[in-house]
Symmetry: C2
Subunit: 352 residues, 2 copies
C-alpha cells in the first residue's frame, strides 16, 4: 500500500493557467477563433495536464493488459475463454486490430500478461506480470484478494512509469480478456450507482437471453460480495479484474508524471472510475477517445464528465479506439505549435 | 461542354459485389463481427467505389481551390476580402491549418488560384487557373457566365486527373474564399429546396444581425437571378462560385477514375450537390469527413444520404476536416488488409 499512497500523493490538479495560455495562442493562429472546435479543446486539455505548450515527440504508447475472468464459468461471453491467450499470441504476432491501428499512428504496443489462464512459454515481447491465472468466479466470492487488487494497480503503475521514462508523453491502456465487460459492468454499477441492467451490454456479441443472463450473474456477484462503493479497492477486489486494476494503476502513475491518458472504451473507462475514486484530480488528465456501443461506457463517461472525441460504433477494445484518439490529439498539438499567427503570416484579422 | 459530357459518360455506379467481398473479409478477421463499427463501413465503401480490396499506397491529396466572391461587397463576411489572397500565401508558406493537418496524415496539399481577386507574382507551388478575379456580385446579376461555370468545373476535373495520374487514390477538395459560405448557402438552398434561413450560418463568425443580413442578401440574389433548380449549371453560374464549380469538377473526374473523394465541410458538400445533380452515381464515391457547424452542411449531407465520420464542431474549411477523414479511411483499409484472420492466427471463433 505504501507505493500506492506515494503515487496518490504525487498527483496534482491540472493547471488552468496553461489552458489559458494555450487558448491565447490558438486565438492568434490564422483561422477564425474557435473554428477548429474540439481539436482546440484537445490541445488545451493536453497542455493543462502536461503543463507544456510543446511536448515534442509524443511517443504514443498503448499498453494492453490481458487477463482472464473466473466469471466466464457462468457463460457470460459469446467467445470461449481460450480466446484470451490466443489473442495475446495474435498481439505478439502483430495480427490484431490494435497492432494494425497503432501502426497507423504510429504508436508503440506493449502486451502484458497480468492474469491470463494459460502458461505461456518464454515469448519475445510478452511482459509477464501474471498475478494469478485468471480471477476467481465472482458469483462464488471475491474475484481476487485485496492484496492482489493493490498488486494489479502496481503492475499498471510500473508499466506507466517505464513508458514515461522511455519518453512516452501520451499513454493509453488497452485490454484483452474474455469476460471483462462483465467485470467492468459490475464495477461501473457499484461505483456510479446505476442499476446493473443500465450498464450491461452484449459484450462481444451476446443475444438477448445471453444479455439477460449476464445481468443476473452480475447482480448475483454484487449481492454475494456486497462491495463498498466508497472503497474503490473493495470494489476492485470483489467484482473487478486484474486488467481493471492495472488500468487504474497506469492512469494514476501517468497523472503523477503529468502524462495525459487516452481512454479507449468501456473497460478502460471502468478502470478510470477506480482511479478517479482513488484520486479526484485524475479526471483532468484523461481523454475519451470514442463512445463505445456498450451502454455502461456512457454512464462511466458521464460520471467522469468527459465527452468522447469519436462516435464510430466501435466495441472491439484492445485500445483500438485510443489509437484513433492518438491521431486527433497529436493533430491538435500540431495545430497549436505549427500553424502561423495572423501577424507572422501577414493575414488581416477581423476588426471587431 | 464536350469534355464535361465525356467525363459524365465515364461515371459508373459503384459495385456492390466489391462491398460484399470486403464484408466477407472483415467478418473473417480476428475481432467480433462488426466490432469496428463505422471503420468497417468505411473500408466497404472505399472498396465498392475503387473496385479493389487493397489500393496500396493512397497518396492522399487535398486540392485547395481559392477564389473570391463579388457578393462580399454586400458585407456578408466577418473578414475582409484581401484575406483570400493572404491565406493563399499562407498555404504556400505552409502555415495554415490545412498544411499542418495534412502533414499529420501525411497528405499532399495543392493550391489552385481559380479566381482570386489579386495578381500573384510568379509563385512556386501556386497553380494558376484563374477564371476571373472573383465572381460578380450575385445580387446584381449572375455570379459568372454559364461558360465560366463549365470552365470552373473543368479546372477541378483537370486537377483531379493530374492527381490520379500521379498515383493519388484518395482525393479531397479544399477551399479558401472570403464569402464562399454565402455562395454555398445559395446553391444548397436552391438545389435542396430548403429555405435560405435553414441553410445559412455565421460563416467565419458573423453576429446575429450579420447573419440576418446575409440571409437577406442570399434571398435577394436568388430572386434577382431565378436559378433553375433542375439545371445545376444554371445554379452554379447564377449564385455559385468558381471554387464550387472546381469542387464539382474534381468530384466528377475522380468518380470517372474510381478515386473515392472525401468531402470536407459545407463548401465541398455544396460542390458535391452540383456534381450529384450532374450525375446521380456520384454519391457512392463520396465520404463525409465531418459535420460542420454550418447548418447548411447537414441539409446537403442529408440530401446526399451520407453520414459524416467526425463531429468535432469544426468550421475552418480549407480541407482540414478532410485531412482528419483521410486518417480514418486509411486506417479502415489497413484493418481490411493487414489484420490476421481467425484461421491464420489460430484464434477460436464463436460457435453460434
Amino acid at each position: 500500500m505504501e507505493r500506492l499512497e506515494e503515487i496518490l500523493r504525487q498527483i496534482e490538479p491540472i493547471d488552468p493557467t496553461w489552458s489559458r495560455r494555450a487558448q491565447e495562442r490558438l486565438d492568434d493562429l490564422t483561422k477564425p477563433r474557435g473554428s477548429l472546435g474540439r481539436l482546440e479543446e484537445c490541445a488545451q486539455r493536453y497542455v493543462a495536464a502536461a503543463r507544456t505548450m510543446d511536448p515534442g515527440e509524443l511517443w504514443p504508447t498503448v499498453i494492453v493488459f490481458a487477463a482472464d475472468h473466473g466469471v466466464t464459468d457462468e457463460g457470460v461471453s459469446a467467445y470461449p475463454k481460450e480466446v484470451t491467450h490466443q489473442m495475446v499470441l495474435n498481439f505478439l504476432a502483430g495480427g490484431a486490430g490494435i497492432n494494425v491501428l497503432a501502426a497507423q499512428v504510429p504508436a508503440e504496443v506493449k502486451v502484458v500478461d497480468v492474469g491470463v489462464a494459460h502458461d505461456f512459454p518464454e515469448k519475445p515481447g510478452l511482459i509477464g506480470r501474471k498475478i494469478a491465472p485468471g480471477t476467481d468466479n465472482m458469483v462464488l466470492g471475491p474475484a481476487m484478494s485485496r492484496a492482489q487488487a493493490v498488486q494489479s494497480i502496481l503492475v499498471g503503475a510500473d508499466l506507466a512509469a517505464e513508458a514515461a521514462e522511455a519518453g512516452c508523453r501520451l499513454l493509453a491502456p488497452g485490454e484483452m480478456g474474455i469476460g471483462n465487460t462483465t467485470a467492468a459492468s459490475a464495477v461501473t454499477a457499484v461505483l456510479t450507482g446505476h442499476s446493473v441492467a443500465e450498464v450491461t451490454g452484449k459484450g462481444t456479441g451476446l443475444d438477448e437471453p445471453g444479455l439477460k443472463h449476464k445481468i443476473e450473474v452480475i447482480q448475483r456477484a454484487i449481492s454475494v460480495n456486497k462491495p463498498d462503493a466508497d472503497d474503490p479497492l473493495d470494489v476492485l477486489h470483489k467484482v473487478g479484474g486484474f486488467e481493471l486494476g492495472a488500468i487504474a494503476g497506469l492512469i494514476l502513475e501517468a497523472c503523477a508524471r503529468r502524462v495525459p491518458v487516452v481512454m479507449d472504451g468501456f473497460i478502460s473507462t471502468a478502470g478510470a472510475l477506480i482511479a478517479h475514486r482513488l484520486h479526484p484530480d485524475v479526471a483532468g488528465y484523461l481523454f475519451a477517445a470514442h463512445r463505445s456501443v456498450e451502454p455502461g461506457h456512457q454512464a462511466a463517461l458521464d460520471d467522469l464528465a468527459i465527452k468522447p472525441l469519436l462516435d464510430l460504433g466501435m466495441r472491439l477494445g484492445e485500445g483500438t479506439g485510443a489509437a484513433l484518439g492518438f491521431m486527433l490529439i497529436r493533430a491538435s498539438l500540431a495545430v497549436l505549435n505549427e500553424m502561423a499567427t495572423f501577424s507572422s503570416a501577414g493575414v488581416t484579422d477581423r476588426t471587431d
